[in-house]
Amino acid sequence: MQSSGDGETDLPSGPPGEAAGPLGEAAGPPGEGGRGTAAWDGNLLAGPLSEVFAVDVTTAVGRCRGCGARSAIATLRVHGPQPGLVGRCPGCDDVLLRIVRTPDAVWLDLGGLTSLRIPADG
């Protein structure tokens, strides 16, 4: 994922630019601005989240703070990768998570989730 922003106190927000998304690459809705059908889904987050989590999080079920819906992270509607990846609730479209990579940090905002249930062997 490309670096963006100035790494200050809040999630960096670089210029919108062309959302040359990963799979397939064709230009999609820019950054978080586009509210149309999201080009990607939470499967795309597997690689970036693997820098932070020890287990695969795309199979985890997250609960939306806005509408209470429980969704597998893999099913989130994802926009990006500029200025970062944003995962929205499949039910109400609220932002559940954001992840932005800068040269020296991974910025992760999980504020839209009230909980995350991660499958784990007993």
Binding site: A20, P22, A38, I118
Partner: protein
């Protein structure tokens, strides 16, 4: 069915490591398969993907995700890349990466859109365009005595088909049924479909053994518009939502 444990381990999965191009195979005018050598590749499950990162001389990086096209075979990893016009990465991968040169890979990643060969039950695969790639990995991983598979593969026209000969061969063996949907133009050469051109519809999924009561696991992959339409057809037909897994490959053209 969802499990967090997937091959690779902590350090293996986080690292970017080089994949050296061994061989390139043109699949169609728009798609090319790259066969890469990745030292100590940990193996992967059908449906998983990798992130590929290119770094320019000035340090600029571009990362894209590509599905693993074939089962794990030692250090040998296959990706099928669809060339996107004016793309930053795919034209380079399809046309310019030289044999022996390396790209950086991260993976395998993805535990959701995965078929585990020990899973019971029939498997229904709905592919839109290059969304076929992870589903082909599943087809290629299916053992000869495995559960029934049905692949419904939608492309604009016959020239866009990939893995054409292989699909014809596998459809001739028992256990795998392949149907083609041409949305713009059929060829009339009998490439698997006598149906007129048009988008995927419920009738394309009809058939004994593939109804909701048969409880197939359904995997849908392709551009986001295709995935939405196909998933809606499955849900409307009564398939259990818990048995439908989707992967969106990008904006619908």
């Amino acid at each position: 069915m969802a499990r967090a444990a997937i091959p690779g381990g902590l350090s293996a999965r986080r690292a970017w490591r080089p994949g050296r191009l061994l061989e390139r195979r043109v699949e169609s005018a728009g798609a090319t398969t790259l066969i890469l050598d990745v030292t100590d590749w940990p193996g992967h499950l059908p449906g998983q993907h990798v992130d590929v990162r290119l770094t320019a001389e000035d340090g600029y990086t571009a990362t894209r995700s590509y599905s693993l096209a074939a089962p794990a075979e030692g250090d040998r990893v296959e990706l099928t890349v669809q060339r996107v016009p004016d793309g930053e990465v795919s034209p380079f991968l399809c046309d310019d990466l030289l044999l022996g040169d390396a790209v950086e890979l991260r993976g395998p990643v993805g535990g959701w859109f995965v078929w585990r060969p020990d899973q019971p039950g029939p498997v229904l695969l709905l592919a839109g365009g290059s969304g076929l790639v992870p589903l082909m990995a599943m087809v290629r991983a299916r053992p000869a005595d495995g559960p029934p598979f049905r692949l419904v593969y939608s492309v604009r026209q016959p020239d866009d088909l990939i893995y054409r000969e292989e699909l014809a061969a596998v459809a001739g063996t028992g256990g795998v049924d392949v149907r083609y949907v041409f949305t713009r133009r059929t060829s009339g050469d009998g490439a698997g479909s006598a149906r007129r051109a048009g988008r995927l519809r419920a009738a394309d999924l009809d058939g004994q053994g593939w109804g909701p009561a048969d409880a197939p696991t359904c995997f849908v992959c392709g551009p986001t518009g295709f995935v939405e339409a196909a998933a809606t057809i499955l849900a409307s037909a009564g398939h259990d939502a818990a048995r439908i897994r989707t992967e969106r490959f990008g904006p619908s053209g």
